[in-house]
């Protein structure tokens, strides 16, 4: 046989192996996956990545174990597709678990393939996106598959705050497998995916409680109650589109800035409707998202965790084309009071923005922390402290706007001047005080009211006096706590100009191993 013939044979072998790898667990399993309304790993990657941009690594890797009949189940790729590609022209590292191969079970080879791209992504400073669809650890591999989790976890932690990490859950994600997504920056749940540490069968065996997989760890649970997931969609296709959208607000790594798009919304645009947003009634609710939609670039707001702790609103938007992180109290839910869940939600988001050079704009309308034994016993002090810690630690540009109530500890916590806030604006409707008028008057003038000829009338007079003296932004502006009282409609141009100045802000914290966050 000539050399040419040999090469041809080698090429044929390679091509045959590659075509086997493309089929994953085989056509029958692919058809089953489609029947369940799910895509295969390669179909998902094709949807996520720019055309012809995917470069696969480890397509032919497979395990070398024989226990429990594993020798009969050797598939090129070993149930995961890994590599590099581009999303909207940006380089990313990706992996997608292939449910058609042994249910996507997590193996030692899978771990080696994931950690390989994690290491390269960390060297190159590019985001890592994981598409998860796995039944859990490969039981036949025993402790090998458990150790494999650890290899991934440690890289998740090392990459945390250096490159964005996004986990997209597109199927079951159980046991130890849930911790890798939990260690990443964002968890997006698509379709009927679910995440839980112990499945319904184990729960039934241990506690006798009967619960379905979706009721235990479906998107509704993690979006609304646990706060584990950050975004959820009805379908896989939408989940992948959401991933692209989310990535557009984040930089490649902690040294770079997020992409800026050419602005089309005029920087000086003023919306007169903002001047009428705050209702006359002190306790009448309004939706802070209306203000956000009006102030920031048109259609640019992406709310994160919209259903979890709805008394706080967090999300990304663009201002003059630049990516901005938004933190706001939501007056139309629990009057915007802060509680344990809202504190966790806000604190985590501030740290995320700080890690990835995204300026933070805070809208304050908070009557204080939610009172009650439930909150105190649950450690609202510790959780509330996380917000203070996060704001104080953050070195990115920080601007706050007091729209209405800023009371007591909540005023201090929500990006006040002393929390190393760069610029503080207030609308004329702002009410900055230690406590509400009713409480303050009863504490300050208890005896005077008691001894008055008409206590009710005297209390009313004192309440009016307190409101006039303290329930406005001007006392705070007098002492420099507010930089400027602005008309609500001026907010957009004011923010654009302030952020233009702060774009080159550099601030550093004292050198240390790490701070002790009140976790």
């Amino acid at each position: 046989m000539t050399m040419g013939g040999k090469t041809k044979k080698h090429l044929e072998v390679l091509r045959e192996m590659r075509s086997r790898a493309v089929l994953g667990g085989g056509q029958k399993r692919i058809d089953q996956q489609h029947e369940r309304g799910k895509m295969t790993a390669r179909e998902r990657l094709a949807l996520l990545l720019d055309e012809d941009s995917f470069q696969e690594f480890g397509a032919l890797a497979t395990h070398n174990l024989n226990a429990f009949g594993l020798d009969q189940h050797r598939y090129p790729g070993d149930g995961i597709v890994t590599g590099f590609g581009k999303v909207s022209g940006r380089r990313v590292a990706v992996f997608a678990q292939d449910f058609t191969v042994l249910g996507g079970s997590f193996s030692e080879v899978q771990s080696q393939k994931i950690t390989r791209i994690q290491d390269l992504a960390l060297d190159a400073g590019i985001p890592v996106i994981g598409l998860n669809d796995s039944g859990g650890a490969r039981i036949q591999e025993g402790v090998r598959s458990l150790a494999a989790y650890g290899e991934v976890f440690v890289r998740n932690v090392l990459a945390s705050g250096v490159v964005p990490q996004i986990s997209v859950i597109l199927g079951p994600c159980a046991g130890g497998a849930v911790y890798s997504p939990a260690l990443t920056d964002f968890v997006i749940m698509g379709g009927d995916s679910c995440m839980f540490l112990t499945g319904p069968e184990v729960i039934k065996a241990v506690t006798g409680e009967q619960v379905s997989a979706l009721d235990l760890g479906g998107a509704d649970v993690h979006m609304g109650r646990s706060g584990v997931a950050h975004l959820a969609t009805d379908t896989e296709v939408e989940a992948i589109a959401m991933t692209k959208l989310l990535l557009s607000y984040l930089p490649q790594n902690n040294n770079e800035d997020p992409p800026q798009i050419t602005p089309e919304d005029p920087a000086n645009r003023m919306d007169e409707a903002l001047n009428e947003l705050i209702p006359d009634g002190e306790n009448t609710p309004y939706d802070i998202r209306d203000a956000i939609a009006s102030i920031f670039d048109q259609d640019s707001f992406l709310e994160i965790q919209p259903d979890f702790a709805a008394n706080a609103v967090i999300g990304f938007a663009r201002l003059d084309g630049y990516s901005i992180g938004i933190v706001a109290n939501q007056p139309c839910f629990m009057s915007g009071a802060l509680n344990i869940d809202a504190s966790d939600k806000i604190a985590r988001f501030i740290r995320l923005c700080d890690a990835f050079n995204v300026p933070i704009v805070t809208f304050v309308d908070c009557p204080g922390f939610l009172p009650g034994t439930g909150q105190e016993y649950g450690g609202v002090i510790r959780h509330g402290a996380k917000i203070i810690y996060a704001y104080c630690e953050a070195t990115v540009p920080k601007i706050s706007i007091v729209t209405r109530k800023a009371m007591g500890g909540a005023y201090v916590a929500m990006g006040s001047k002393q929390m190393r806030n760069d610029v503080t604006f207030a609308w004329p409707t702002a009410q900055i005080a230690v406590m509400g008028p009713e409480g303050a008057v009863r504490v300050l003038f208890r005896n005077e009211i008691k001894n008055a000829a008409d206590p009710a009338l005297r209390e009313k007079e004192l309440l009016e006096e307190y409101r006039e003296k303290f329930f406005n932004p001007y006392r705070a502006a007098d002492v420099g706590q507010i930089d400027e009282v602005i008309e609500p409609r001026e907010t957009r141009p004011r923010l654009v100009r302030a952020l233009e100045v702060l774009r080159t802000k550099v601030q550093s914290n004292p050198a240390k191993k790490h701070g002790l966050t009140p976790i």
């Binding site: 909207s88 940006r90 400073g125 040294n255 050419t262 259609d299």
Partner: protein, 134 residues
């Protein structure tokens, strides 16, 4: 009284006779029609469609003069142009939201600005190694 009874009898007899004769005539004509009818082959579906189309064409011709000419833009139907416009705007919006390269102030990977990741990383690489304790 006798005259009234006789009158009624004659009315019933006379009218009955007339109706009976009419019924007989109707029956006779029906038989003639059935016997006179030429057998017609059943129409195929295609033929039915052709007939329906002929009728529709006639109807179209009848009302055609009242319908205005469809609007066009540079020779293309206006509806199609509107659909293309909406699709283009939606696509542009998606591209903007996803910060697609064409919407960015500079292309990803552009060499217009030095990568800070590379600049900071290579600076760290070039720190000279210091033995422990020195």
């Amino acid at each position: 009284m006798e005259n009234l009874a006789w009158g009624l009898q004659m009315t019933v007899l006379g009218m009955g006779l007339v109706f009976a004769l009419l019924g007989l005539l109707w029956g006779l004509l029906t038989i003639v029609l059935i016997l006179d009818k030429e057998p017609k082959p059943p129409m195929s579906e295609q033929e039915t469609h052709a007939v329906a189309e002929r009728i529709a064409a006639l109807a179209d011709d009848a009302v055609g003069a009242q319908v205005p000419e469809p609007a066009t833009v540079n020779g293309m139907p206006a509806d199609l142009v509107a659909a293309i416009l909406v699709a283009t705007m939606r696509h542009k919006l998606t591209l903007r939201r996803q910060a697609a390269p064409i919407m960015r102030t500079y292309w990803p990977g552009s060499q217009l600005f030095a990568s800070r990741w590379v600049a900071a990383g290579r600076t760290r690489q070039n720190y000279s190694w210091q033995p422990r304790g020195k």
